[in-house]
Every structure is written in structure tokens, then in C-alpha cells.
Symmetry: C2
Subunit: 341 residues, 2 copies
């Protein structure tokens, strides 16, 4: 059922005011502060209807109204007036991204930091799904007689170190040769292609096969790992600045989610539909989120490839205007930085 214009306006007012003041919104407050042309009694009837429809709730009979999860979702998708960042804020974003933007790992870190700083909430991100990535170069460095460091460089310029065992009897020259061989073989290939590869080692030095298998294992570990480097968090302590987390139990619940990489990864990857801005609310089907907490996330792409999902996690009563503005702007700059790489 479509809401009347006045209901929409009132709902917007309630959400705006509640986000701003954290105080349940009363009919009187609405008519005095925002709608002087109608009386509180009229607003009361409307509020009552909106409550009936599931958009508002009351803490107790004699309290004002508070938005429901449903209301927040509608607010972000429909009602909210989009905010523009100030020049100062935009400059700040640019300034941060200018520093050490040469390494994708740093770009990633910077993005999370900027989002957290500007929004004032805890921010999280997952890096691009490595599966779409392609190998650029593999290089071995022998350490001890039976160990080598494997450096993996990929198109996305992610890189990772890993160790493999090598046969003791292999000479440095042979290792070099194996390296060159594997490099030629794997270059420009994606992970799947490499896994499917069949190679005939019959006529070469037997150690090559060992190395080949070990390298594949290292690659598997790299590409499939739900690893630290894939998840980034910043501003965990920001949560405490917000009046919503007053009792220890809520903070506890929040920190448990935020410090658990597994949970966060699950939530962030969960049904990322094609929507540009995604809002998930703890009380609303997303049980892994802390109660009454929201996750606002956006997935960025360059030339059709996902380059990461970035988000903000905080109270449902969150400054969505600012958060969405920050996510959109950071996304724009991020995409432009990565596009011309």
C-alpha cells in the first residue's frame, strides 16, 4: 500500500528528528516544530495509522514514536533528502587518497579510514574477490636449502608472500629454471585456469613436479583464503561516541560482531544485490548483526569487476544522510583512482 504524501512527510520528520535527537518523537513536537498548520491531534491520528502499518513503534503507552526497521529502510530508499559533502570534506577525501595510493592495500586502508572519519562510525570493508584476479608474476627466493619464499603478484596488484618446500637436491640454477618455467606457464592466467592445468613432467627433472604442486597449493591458499587482508576495519571505538550504546550489554554485542572477522565477512557478503546502497538492520532478518544496529554498504566496481564492498556499521538510529553521502563520494573517487591504473 502506498503511503499518502502527508504520511510520508510525517514519517520523514519522525526519522529525521529521532536521528537528530534520540528522543521518541511526539505529536506535539511535530506540529510545533515542523507542521504548524496542523494540530497535534491530527498528527496523532496519522502516527497511529503509521504505527498500524508497521513503520513506528512506541516504547510504552505514554511515549512518543520511534521508527521501526521498516521505516529506516523506506527512509533511505525514498524519504531521505540526500546530503552533499562540504568542500572541506571532499578535499579531505582527496587528500587522503593522494598519500601512498600506489599500493592497492593502502588504497583499501585509506578508504576505510576516510569512511570512518567522515561518517563518525565504525567502517568495514572486504577487498575484491580474488577469483577474478589474474596472475602477473611469480618469483621464488630460496631461503634455506629446502625452503623458498614465493612472491605472487597479480593484476590487481595484490601481493602475498608464501613459503613452499623445495627438494634439497635442487640447485639454485634449477630453481631459477623452474621459476621461469612456471612463470611462463601461469602468466596472465586466472586462478581457475591454473587449477585446471595439466602438465607433463615426464621428461624433466623430477623436482619440478614437486615445486609445481607446492606452488599450486600456495596459490590455492592465497586465492581461497578468508583472510585478514581481505577484511578491514577502522574506528571500532567510534561506536562509543553515540548515545545509543549506553548499556554494557549492547556494547558487548556490538564489539563481538565487530571483532569477529568471520561474522563480519558473512554479513558483508550476504545477499549483495545489485543495489548501489544496501541497508541491513539487525532486528530485521539479519540476526548476525547486533540488535538495533545497521550496516550500510556499497559495492564498487571498475569495468564490471567488483573491487570491494565498503560499509558502515552503527546504531539503527544512524545519520544515514551523511553515511550515504560519504559512501557515494568515496566510491566515486575510489573507482576513478582504480580505473586509470
Amino acid at each position: 500500500m502506498e503511503l499518502s504524501d502527508r504520511k510520508k512527510k510525517i514519517l520523514q520528520i519522525v526519522v529525521d528528528d529521532y536521528i537528530d535527537t534520540a528522543v521518541p518523537v511526539s505529536s506535539k513536537a511535530i506540529s510545533e516544530k515542523y507542521m504548524q498548520n496542523v494540530s497535534s491531534a491530527t498528527i496523532r491520528a496519522e502516527l497511529s495509522a503509521l504505527e498500524e502499518l508497521g513503520y513506528l513503534t512506541q516504547l510504552h503507552t505514554s511515549s512518543g514514536r520511534v521508527p521501526s526497521a521498516e521505516a529506516y529502510k523506506l527512509y533511505v530508499s525514498d524519504l531521505m533528502v540526500k546530503e552533499h559533502l562540504s568542500k572541506k570534506e571532499l578535499d579531505y577525501i582527496k587528500e587522503i587518497f593522494l598519500q601512498k595510493a600506489d599500493n592497492i592495500e593502502n588504497v583499501f586502508k585509506n578508504a576505510v579510514k576516510v569512511i570512518s572519519e567522515l561518517s563518525g562510525y565504525t567502517s568495514v570493508a572486504i577487498s575484491p574477490t580474488a577469483v577474478e584476479d589474474k596472475l602477473k608474476e611469480i618469483r621464488f627466493f630460496r631461503f634455506r636449502e629446502d625452503k623458498a619464499l614465493v612472491l605472487i603478484v597479480t593484476e590487481l596488484k595484490l601481493l602475498k608472500d608464501n613459503y613452499i618446500d623445495i627438494p634439497k637436491e635442487m640447485t639454485d640454477a634449477q630453481l631459477e629454471e623452474a621459476n621461469a618455467f612456471i612463470n611462463k606457464l601461469f602468466k596472465e592466467k586466472s586462478f581457475e585456469e591454473i587449477c585446471d592445468m595439466e602438465v607433463d613432467f615426464n621428461d624433466s627433472f623430477s623436482g619440478y613436479k614437486t615445486i609445481f604442486v607446492n606452488v599450486i597449493d600456495a596459490l590455492k591458499a592465497y586465492f581461497s583464503a578468508k583472510e585478514d587482508s581481505k577484511l578491514m576495519i577502522d574506528g571500532q571505538d567510534k561506536i562509543l561516541r553515540h548515545a545509543d550504546y549506553l548499556d554494557v550489554d549492547r556494547i558487548k554485542e556490538f564489539l563481538e560482531v565487530v571483532t569477529s572477522k568471520d561474522k563480519l565477512l558473512d554479513i558483508l557478503t550476504e545477499d549483495n544485490r545489485a543495489l548501489k546502497i544496501n541497508v541491513k538492520i539487525g532486528s530485521d532478518g539479519y540476526e548476525k548483526l547486533p540488535k538495533d544496529s545497521s550496516l550500510v554498504s556499497a559495492t564498487y566496481t571498475v569495468a564490471g569487476k567488483k573491487i570491494g564492498t565498503y560499509g558502515v556499521i552503527g546504531p539503527s538510529r544512524m545519520d544515514y544522510q551523511k553515511v550515504v553521502a560519504v559512501l557515494e563520494n568515496v566510491g566515486r573517487i575510489l573507482e576513478s583512482i582504480l580505473a586509470d591504473k
Copy 2:
């Protein structure tokens, strides 16, 4: 002034009991639970004296006694009965260190994780001061015409990626040559030695000098950086399991310190005397620590070289017996692992 044996015993009882129960300790409780041979009145006199000496405080006239910072320090250095870890716990430590112990970064991570898990508190660590480290190998990988990835491998097997600019007109072969040249020059050298180095470039390709300068810059960035990789934290959320952090302000203060790498680094590096186990208490000269919080740390060495400072941060009312036992055992295993590398 030296305390009488009975005073020591009573102080120990107070600290033990308070750590255990979190309830201010009364004279009656002491005489009934721990010292049936003396009456509560006697204990009362002793408690009064200990308070006079600065070891105990009262929250209000009719409450039991609580240990002061001074008392905790004395407790750890003198009074505490050292605990032994159970076989299960020791096995757990060994088990964790067996996984992926090939990379020093992982050993580092594992140590912090083990300490946090076993002690039940937030744990922090700083990696070895890189200054004492020596270069093992430097390798360039050209990316675009004017960029190269520099991989730095050091004796401590730390490694780090960095990008440098290279002159466009330089050919791949020339880059290779430059790489080999720099490698020979820097190998086995410490950071200071490299910085002091004077090289004559007059008779060689002009681009070499550019590269040389850029590499030095990259090394400087690597060796001197107060960087993420140097500081490690685990179990931030553990703090909430402890009854001491009941009000939001204390949690706030705690998290602010724990999420601020700068503050933590400062505290951890601050006057690390030769003591094996170091106790710093927030209310006692260490203003950077949260109020009524303690940091227990130990610095580990292999063959005279510092290999890191590990610690636990939590309430002053901390289970020092367990924490010290964990730190000592992890230290022992850590040193043995790194010794035979």
C-alpha cells in the same frame, strides 16, 4: 620499610581474594576464610596499618579494603604464588605455534593470539625494532614503464613491499643491472650502514643514481615506520568479559587506548627496563593507560637481540598469576622457535 610477614600474608590474601571476587575484602572475611587463628579485630588493625602505608584503600568508611597500585606491584614482584599452566594449556600453545610457523609475521600473530586466548585479556605486542635487522635481498619488479615494486627481505625474515619511481628511459636490462648492483652493495648491511653509504655514480648511467636514492627512501620508510605491522592486538572484545568494566565511560577510555596504535606503542616502549616482567598501572604514573588498568609486558630476546615485547592489558584487578604464567611460557617457546631459525 619492610613489611612484617603477617602483613605480607594479609596483603597477599587481600589481593588474591579481590582478584578472585571483585568484592572489597573485609576483616571478617579474611579471618573466617583464610586465617581462623586470629580474630577479625586483629586483622582490622593490620588492614588499618596497611592502608596507612599506602597499600590499601577504602571506597567509603563502611566498605572492605581494595588493593592500591602499589599493592599490585608488590604482589607481582614479591607476594604472588607463581602458577603453572596445565598440560592442556601448554599443549595448546605448542599446537598453535606449529601451524604456519614458517613466517615470522605468523609467529608474531600466533603469539598474540595465544596470549589473549589463554589469559582471557586483550593482548598487544610490538615486533622487534627493525633497526637491528640486516638486509638480505632486494629485488625489483617493473610494473609500468616508470614504476617498480621493491621487495625487501631481511634477516629477521620480515618483508615488505614498496614502490619506487624509475626513469622511463631505463631498459629492463638496465634495471636488472641496477638491481644486481644495489643488491651487492646492500647485502648483509644494517640500516645505519646503508644510510651512511657514499657511492660514486659519475661514470655510470645517470638513472642508477635516481634508483639508488629512491631505494634508500623506501628503506627509510620501511625501517623507521611506526607501522601497523609493528603493532599487533588481539582479543579487544575480551575486556567486556570482566566485571570491572561496567560503566560505559571506562570501556570508552579503554577502547580509545587500545584502538590507538600511537598510544599503545608509546606505552609499550616506555621505559622497558631489563626486568623480565613489567607491570604498569594506569593510576600510577602511566597516564596514557586507562584509569585502573594494567599493562603486564615482557620483552623477549634471542642471542641478545630483542625479538619483541608482548603484553596483556586489562583491569588492575587482573589475574596476574595466570597472565605472568602465560607470558613466561609463551616467551620460552617463542625464544626456542626463533633460536633455531
